[in-house]
Symmetry: C2
């Protein structure tokens, strides 16, 4: 991690950010008390057990958040995109981190210190409500995944993951290629399966012409079919 001074207006002024509800005054307070850091692809942003020092906002890049389970097996619980928070769960629960965050691409992360966050939260009920809504949505997602990952069969789980990645990161210019390049291992860790099974099932999907694969590049050829596979379980 390098502590570059980056002008990270992106987190604060981006219309997608929850900070849009803030007054210019409140935004200024944040602007004064935040630091930015740069992480190269593969670098750890925080680790399970670390104490959260502030609110992290992903200004640019892509980040996976995963938990280590039985025998060190990774389960990806969230994929972050700009502009979005990371590590905020532990901060607000007043716990140490219960998951690890790793940059999948080169990423810029800015941090607003704990005290400033709470100070703004006490002043802005709008921001509080936004965060409550964000948490409620995220919790719904997590509950959904619990059911999906435990009940759907391998094909259903993989199909759902591909749709999830498409929904989260969107398409490249060709309107087919999913705009994220994960290793087969990461795809497996996202879908609760072994790497072998991820490889095998991706190949099957490609044979069935539901998707096309070219290394880490995944094109969705038939979204309707993929959705059907996902729903069937």
């Amino acid at each position: 991690m390098q502590d570059r001074i980056i002008n990270c207006e992106n987190c604060i002024d981006n219309p997608k950010s929850v900070f849009t509800v803030l007054t210019p005054k409140e935004k200024d307070i944040i602007r004064k008390s935040h630091t930015c850091s740069f992480y190269k692809k593969g670098e750890i942003i925080f680790k399970e057990g670390d104490k959260p020092m502030g609110l992290l906002c992903l200004a640019d890049g892509k980040v996976k958040i995963f938990k280590e389970g039985v025998g060190g097996r990774e389960q990806i619980v969230r994929m972050a995109k700009p502009v979005g928070f990371i590590g905020y769960r532990a901060l607000f629960a007043e716990e140490h981190h219960t998951a690890t965050a790793v940059a999948i691409e080169d990423s810029t992360v800015c941090q607003i210190d704990r005290e400033t966050v709470y100070r703004i939260l006490r002043e802005s009920s709008d921001l509080s409500l936004s965060i409550i809504r964000a948490f409620a949505t995220e919790l719904g997602f997590s509950n959904n995944r619990t059911v999906t990952l435990t009940q759907k069969h391998i094909r259903g789980r993989l199909a759902e993951s591909l749709i999830f990645l498409k929904d989260t990161y969107g398409y490249e210019e060709d309107a087919q290629t999913i705009k994220i390049y994960l290793s087969r291992e990461d795809v497996a860790n996202l879908s609760n399966m072994t790497t072998s099974n991820a490889i095998r099932t991706l190949s099957t999907f490609a044979q069935e012409e539901v998707i096309a694969i070219d290394g880490r590049k995944i094109k969705i050829l038939d979204l309707v079919k993929l959705e059907r596979i996902s729903e069937l379980g």
Copy 2:
């Protein structure tokens, strides 16, 4: 469901309630705009797809919240105890309910209407922060369960569920019997396994003298051993 007029001070004044952070004035507002309902064991409080009409608080009784998965298979995502909220996720996410709530015992539920909830939230940053903290904790729990239910083996999953039930509802006076009486089916739906496997594995635990079973009554004889089974996966 019967619409009795019950004096449901319990939700508001109970020291365990998040409402303790409110001023007497704010508590009065809630007192004036809430209604109480009584549900018999087995009755549905809300269903997947229903629109949340307010904030529900379980004043007395026990409630399971579950999602329907592949082939109508239930997955219990939460067990509520007094005094705690139910159905608040959908309310704050501004979605329809994504899970169903059923009373496991005769239960009293009071409802504070939507507008009042938001009115108080806008005034009380303390309450907002409490709710943010509650959500963050709940999300941590959910993420944890995702990993547990997908990665642990049957014995580990069941052991963890039993410990979870003990932690949530506590013991009877004998300091051994878990203070909730679930059907084998509910135990299975909590632990992501079939009813047969729940029965089988409970019997095995009883043979190993980790627990003792007498119908729906479950005694934890050796908590340390149970925790070890849970950790091993």
